[in-house]
């Protein structure tokens, strides 16, 4: 469902002081795959390249080298078709504040090629599942981070995507909201979707991920269930693995 083979992505940035160009290799030769009915955890500290990898999968960016296939489409050649089968949640925790969830979701349903009525029905079901139905017609400006994230989750899943790409879906959320989101991810797995989430914290990975890959400085280490990965590195938790990798670098 998701396949990455030797994927490279870098950025050219300009140093504001020296005015010289600098290359940042954000993703370096990453390969892995995620199958239907599986939750894959992409772990790594800040700046490891997790968001970049997920953006490549979601068709927001183009890889410089390598192959990415999503839902059977080549994300490089047919980014729109690939995007159509991906439900992407960015780590931004933001929504269009001037809209109510109903207006917002109806509009995004239309962006995804759905009928407004169909989109609204599906939005209703999703918000009910997320426990936000009471706020369906309230402007989102005053929403809490948790409420915003729930609306964003509904937006990502609105068009019934076969591939679910969530960038740090629980970061910044309280335990209750985080649990709601994690439970939903389990349901998505049970429905046979391919799910990939990124995180830099342990608990979520232990809870739900079937397999994990650790990204460090753009390079992927391991591609196995978490306990196997920890055992191989003789580490008790994720933090220790990060410290080890930082020491090796």
């Amino acid at each position: 469902m998701i396949e990455l083979a030797e994927v490279y992505k870098g950025f050219t940035v300009r140093d504001r002081k020296t005015r010289q160009k600098k290359r940042i290799e954000a993703v370096r030769g990453v390969s892995f795959s995620v199958h239907p009915g599986e939750i894959y955890g992409l772990l790594g500290p800040n700046g490891a390249g997790k968001s970049t990898t997920l953006r490549l999968i979601a068709g927001l960016m183009q890889a410089e080298r390598g192959l990415i296939r999503v839902g059977g489409f080549d994300a490089g050649r047919e980014p729109e078709a690939a995007r159509a089968c991906v439900g992407y949640l960015s780590g931004d925790l933001n929504v269009y504040g001037r809209f109510t969830p109903r207006e917002f979701l109806r509009l995004f349903g239309q962006f995804q090629g759905m009928q407004a009525r169909v989109a609204e029905g599906r939005a209703l079901a999703l918000l009910e599942r997320l426990g936000l139905l009471d706020f369906m017609d309230v402007r989102m400006e005053g929403f809490s981070t948790g409420q915003k994230q729930k609306v964003s989750v509904a937006r990502a899943l609105l068009h019934d995507p076969r591939v679910v790409v969530f960038d740090e879906p629980t970061t910044g959320l309280d335990v209750l909201t985080a649990k709601t989101v994690l439970d939903l991810l389990r349901e998505l797995r049970a429905e046979g979707r391919a799910v990939i989430v990124s995180t830099h914290v342990m608990p979520m990975v232990e809870d739900i991920c079937d397999r994990v890959g650790i990204l460090f400085d753009g390079v992927l280490y391991g591609d196995a269930p978490l306990d196997q990965l920890l055992a191989a590195r003789h580490a008790r938790n994720l933090d220790e693995v990060f410290f080890q990798l930082a020491g090796e670098a």
Binding site: V13, G59, L60, E80, A84, S90, V95, Y96, F99, F111
Partner: protein, 400 residues
């Protein structure tokens, strides 16, 4: 294309949710011009009323009765009042009367002997009303003198025009309406352009750099809509907002000028005919036709700067110079005699304002109009091509 329309619809929906912005962008111009014109009209009317004033109250001492009938014949200028009880000087100062006119007692005798008699006017020229009374007296005395001279000449059996070999007669060719049109024409185009630019600038920034800043752009980009359609949608939106505000400004302008013309037709101040030409649908329509491609040009500039910026402040600082250029051109273009420069019809943006200026002063030049229109249209097309190419890059959307 459908996607672009959807994005444009989303922007308009978002805009409509912000009542205050809607008010300031679209409703304010609607009341701005009528207010502006009403104020100018009101000012000139009160000024006029003040100047004309009522009749001057004068005390006339005219034992021989040589001037009495002449003064009485103009009741709108002179009101004869009884001599004040106290000091005359004080009475004038207290504004109880404006002037005392004293005619020599033997004026009838002197008049009949063809000698000069004296009229003494006691007044205070530092008092505006008193000064006006003096002016009126001068006028009426001149008229009366003329009559007496003609009478004497006739009695002497010579032509009454003996002492008047020639006479100057001026014919007013220009008219007030045209003059007002020219004055308005000099700055209204720039007011229009500025309103269009300013109107679309804020919304353009909100829809581009603002989306980045608020962290909503990624969700938009993650839909199945192709990136270029999103850019087109934003462009369409900024363009439409600019056009809409130009349209509203023009409409409001036309209606207010129209009402001034109607008010003027009743009074005497405005010669209605040529001012009415300003409010004519064809003048406004041609102006709008010129504004449209200019709006597209502006929209491209705004969207290009807005999408490439990292946040609203940065977008604002990069778009502002564009506005400054328009402003500088405004100051430059208001210089008198500028319209005679031969190369001017070929300077972009400036030629649009020049063409509008000529439309407003009824010196419309079809050739210059078309040059301005086609040039701006071409420029807008090139700019659209350029901006979509430039913006449809990953690096433009993902700036950090």
């Amino acid at each position: 294309m459908n996607g672009a329309l959807l994005v444009c619809k989303k922007e308009f929906l978002e805009l409509s949710k912000d009542r205050r912005t809607v008010f300031f962008t679209f409703l304010l111009p609607l009341v701005l011009y009528p207010l502006l014109f009403a104020m100018v009209g009101g000012l000139s009317r009160t000024d006029e009323a003040n100047r004309q004033g009522r009749a001057s109250r004068v005390v006339l001492v005219d034992p021989g009765g040589v001037l009495t009938s002449a003064l009485k014949a103009e009741p709108e200028s002179f009101e004869l009042v009884a001599p004040p009880a106290g000091d005359l000087r004080q009475a004038i100062r207290d504004q109880r009367l404006e002037m005392k006119i004293q005619v020599e007692a033997d004026a009838p005798l002197k008049l009949s002997r063809h000698r000069t008699f004296t009229v003494t006017a006691a007044c205070d020229p530092s008092e505006e009303a008193s000064g006006l009374a003096l002016t009126r007296l001068r006028k009426i005395l001149e008229k009366q003198n003329r009559r007496w001279v003609e009478e004497r000449l006739r009695l002497a059996g010579v032509s009454p025009e003996l002492d008047r070999p020639s006479r100057l007669e001026t014919q007013e060719m220009g008219d007030l309406g045209l003059k007002v049109g020219r004055t308005l024409g000099a700055f209204l185009p720039y007011l229009l352009m500025l309103m269009m630019f300013a109107g679309s600038m804020q919304h353009g920034i909100y829809a581009t750099a603002g989306e980045k800043e608020r962290g909503t752009l990624l969700s938009l980009l993650s839909t199945r809509l192709p990136r270029h359609q999103i850019i087109w949608g934003k462009l369409l939106y900024v363009f439409a907002v600019g056009l809409l505000s130009a349209f509203i400004n023009l409409l409001s302008m036309g209606v207010s000028i129209g009402s001034v013309v109607r008010a003027g037709a009743e009074g005497q101040a405005m010669s209605a005919g040529s001012l009415a030409d300003l409010a004519r649908p064809s003048t406004l329509g041609l102006t709008f036709l010129l504004m449209a491609p200019l709006g597209l040009l502006f929209a491209n500039f705004i969207v290009m700067m807005g999408i490439r910026a990292r946040n609203s402040v940065e977008a604002g600082t990069s778009i502002m110079p564009g506005m400054v250029v328009v402003l500088v051109m405004a100051v430059f273009s208001m210089a008198p005699g500028l319209e005679k420069l031969a190369f001017l019809p070929y300077v972009p943006i400036l030629n649009v304002s020049l063409a509008i200026r000529k439309l407003f002063s009824q010196q419309g030049n079809a050739f210059e109009f078309w040059v301005a229109l086609l040039m701006t249209l071409g420029l807008a097309a090139v700019m659209t091509w350029l901006s979509t190419r430039l913006l449809n890059r990953e690096t433009s959307v993902f700036t950090v």
